[in-house]
């Protein structure tokens, strides 16, 4: 591995680029926290980028008083957890069958599932809302969880499909010769190999669900079922917006995900190394 070290030393510009890029990536997080402690004047005119002149914690008080943050938070968590579980499960099963098992319409089915990625949610909002009503899902957690799972299947299937396709066929051949069933092969050989992909998709789907606004605002009307992004509605008036308090609401919604991500990314990293160990 010494040759790689050498390369690194020869390449300080790469180092600088990476660290600069990291800085640029982290800044919005800091900016959001600054923002949540400012008033409209500071946000837009006098001081849009720097730290707040004085800390307006009242924005948080304001945000917290507008809606029931703990309830919204728990709902977001529950919906996201259920969505992640459901979508990963369905997508992994489907894409394994589509990518590796032999049946006539596997490619067609794969493309069919992909179409879900091509349609922006606004387009099908009304038929979807009618469907949610007809399935008796209106005003239940299912009103969000079921569509969220369904809409996450397309993208996650595509990713898993790609990963399954890169696995050498010899693995299944030897499993077959050893007399393992297809289920056993799937659960004990295939799943561990695509663990890095699963770990990555867990984060993606979690974020998708956590930040989703368009469906939530229309499908959920019951106060006790609302998720965090809906809190923003309380700050946007027809003509004016309380941006500081909105910033506070956004920080309240985003900070936990950043923390969850930072904690969880360790797990992802482990999954990634385990994955490659199996293969190497």
């Amino acid at each position: 591995m010494t040759w790689m070290m050498k390369l690194r030393k020869n390449n300080p510009s790469m180092q600088i680029f990476l660290w600069l890029y990291a800085l640029v990536s982290v800044y919005p997080l800091i900016w959001m926290i600054f923002y949540s402690l400012k008033n409209n004047d500071e946000i837009f005119v006098t001081n849009p980028f720097g730290p707040p002149v004085h800390l307006r914690f009242e924005n948080y008080v304001e945000a917290w008083s507008k809606y029931n943050v703990p309830v919204y938070f728990m709902n977001s968590l529950l919906v996201a957890a259920a969505t992640v579980t459901g979508a990963i499960l369905l997508a992994v099963l489907f894409s394994y069958a589509a990518a590796r098992l032999r049946w006539r319409f596997s490619t067609v089915a794969h493309t069919y599932i992909l179409v879900g990625m091509f349609i922006p949610i606004q387009v099908i909002m009304i038929p979807l809302a009618i469907l949610v009503r007809d399935l008796n899902l209106a005003n239940t957690y299912g009103a969000l969880i079921i569509p969220y799972i369904a809409f996450n299947i397309s993208f996650s299937s595509m990713v898993f499909y790609g990963f399954f396709r890169s696995i050498p066929i010899e693995l299944e051949e030897s499993a077959c010769i050893d007399g393992a069933s297809i289920y056993r092969t799937f659960f004990s050989i295939m799943l561990p190999i695509i663990k890095p992909a699963i770990a990555t998709m867990v984060i993606f789907i979690f974020l998708n669900s956590w930040n989703e606004f368009t469906m939530a605002v229309i499908l959920i009307t019951k106060e006790s079922l609302k998720t965090l992004p809906l809190g923003l509605l309380f700050f946007q008036g027809q003509f004016t917006t309380d941006w500081g308090a909105m910033g506070a609401a956004m920080t309240i919604a985003s900070l936990p995900t950043v923390l969850i991500y930072i904690l969880f990314s360790e797990q992802v990293e482990n999954a990634l190394t385990v994955g490659s160990a199996v293969k190497g």
Binding site: F44, G142, Y183, F187
Partner: protein, 444 residues
């Protein structure tokens, strides 16, 4: 292993089913509604049963929150058995409300503007209120001058209004005009001189929150009204073409002024807070907004702020069109879902809320331009600018409409987009005429 897979799948199904069953009660209620309604009719005489009504209304800033809270508090005194469950209106071009209508999940009472009224009228999602207007004597409670906000073009009432006829005003910072030796413009030429002088002094001539499209339409409309008092309303009726001289000149004038630096940099990306800050902090000499801005501007600028009559093409035109105001009002307010359990009750609540909403705006928010009569004394004294406007109201010879009061949705979208494009200075009057004319409805 096979068992495991089976178990996994049945787990999925159970999960789906569980999600569904929790919702059954709620959805079934909808089906039972018709049965219940019949029952309700009979028992109504018993009175004062607790009723829960869903309402979808504006509730975000002081101008919408405080009047709403007041109206609800008053309702509690008047009809203690009625409980309102509020859903905050989203700023989404009616997407949510229309989806509600499509799924049969419309709240009992909802805030409706002209666009919602005309769409829902066609699909039968809004209750015609004529009978209740009669029954509650609502007409007598209206300001005679605001009758247009109660009745739509087809002669029926679909919503109890609270907002009256409102106006677009051109605010200006007197101090900045004096300091820079600029005459308050009365003609287009003087306006151009003002633009040039302010630019040379590093002051933005006119601040406009053009990220929202309606202020750009209003600015266009102000120019049009110099020669065509009906302004954009005439286009809406299909009685005029954008290539008619009054409209063509207005577009050309705006392009000319914008190119000379009328607006702040990036005006089409300024929201209200940003544009207002420029004016309130003395960085912009003029500001265009509705008369509801009076309170806010007075708060920041005190007696330095005033509003001016819009400049005319020349001195004679200025005098002649002085009282041709831009803005106006239209049908809108609290509407009722035709499928609500107790129509009369919902209508009664809607009417009551409108009256109280207007009352608060009138007494506490310094806004006399409400739809209904208010017999209570004013708590918050009118600022001088409002006094000036009140004094003028009788003299106003004509009004037009705000963009949201246009009845033809296609024209509305087209003129909003085209007017905003005018603010970039890179869009010609010819393009404007072409784009708007494509959307003008056939004369009714």
């Amino acid at each position: 292993m096979k068992k495991f897979a089976l178990a996994l799948m049945s787990l999925c199904l159970v999960f789906v089913a569980a999600c569904g069953s929790a919702g059954n009660n709620v959805a079934n209620e909808g089906n039972k509604e018709t049965v219940k309604e019949a029952a309700n009719e009979e028992t109504k005489t018993e009175e004062a049963k607790p009723v829960k009504l869903r309402i979808y209304a504006q509730y975000a800033d002081d101008d919408t929150k405080l009047p709403y809270d007041y109206a609800v508090a008053e309702l509690k005194k008047e009809m203690p058995n009625v409980e309102l469950e509020l859903e905050v209106q989203a700023q989404d071009d009616g997407q949510k409300l229309k989806t509600y209508a499509a799924t049969g999940n419309l709240p009992d009472i909802f805030g409706a503007g002209l666009d919602i009224i005309s769409t829902f009228k066609k699909s039968g999602n809004i209750l015609e209120l004529d009978q209740y207007v009669e029954q509650f004597g609502f007409k007598d409670k209206m300001q005679p001058s605001a009758m247009n906000t109660l009745v739509t073009d087809d002669g029926h009432t679909y919503a109890f209004p609270y907002a009256g006829n409102e106006f677009v005003l051109l605010y200006y910072n007197k101090e900045l005009f004096e300091k820079n030796g600029v005459k308050v413009p009365t003609t287009y030429d003087e306006l151009m001189t003002a633009v040039k002088t302010f630019n040379a002094a590093g002051i933005t001539p006119l601040s406009l929150f053009a990220k929202e499209k309606w202020p750009t339409v209003s600015l266009f409309d102000m120019f049009v009204t110099r020669n065509e008092p009906q302004g954009i309303k005439k286009l809406d009726k299909g009685e005029a073409s954008a290539s008619d001289p009054a409209y063509k000149e207005a577009a050309e004038k705006i392009v000319e002024l914008v190119q000379a630096g009328l607006l702040p940099k990036g005006a089409t990306n300024l929201n209200y807070d940003q544009a207002a800050a420029l004016f309130h902090q003395g960085k912009a000499a003029m500001f265009l907004n509705g008369q509801w801005e009076i309170a806010e501007s007075t708060k920041h600028l005190g007696d330095k702020v005033g509003w001016m009559y819009f400049p005319g093409t020349d001195a004679a035109n200025y005098e002649a069109s002085k009282y041709a105001f831009s803005g106006g009002g239209g049908p809108g307010g609290y509407a009722v879902n035709p499928d609500t359990k107790d129509k009369e009750l919902a209508a009664k609540v809607a009417a009551f809320l409108s009256l109280k909403y207007a009352e608060y705006k009138y007494t506490e928010r310094g806004n006399p331009l409400v739809a209904t009569k208010v017999d209570k004394a004013i708590v918050t004294e009118y600022p001088p600018m409002m006094q000036q406007l009140s004094d003028d109201i009788a003299k106003i010879s004509s009004t037009t409409t705000f963009a949201w009061g246009l009845s033809d949705a296609k024209l509305k979208a087209a003129i909003e987009d085209a007017s905003q494009s005018l603010m970039t200075g890179a869009y010609s009057a010819e393009q404007f005429i072409e784009d708007v004319n494509k959307a003008i409805p056939a004369a009714k």
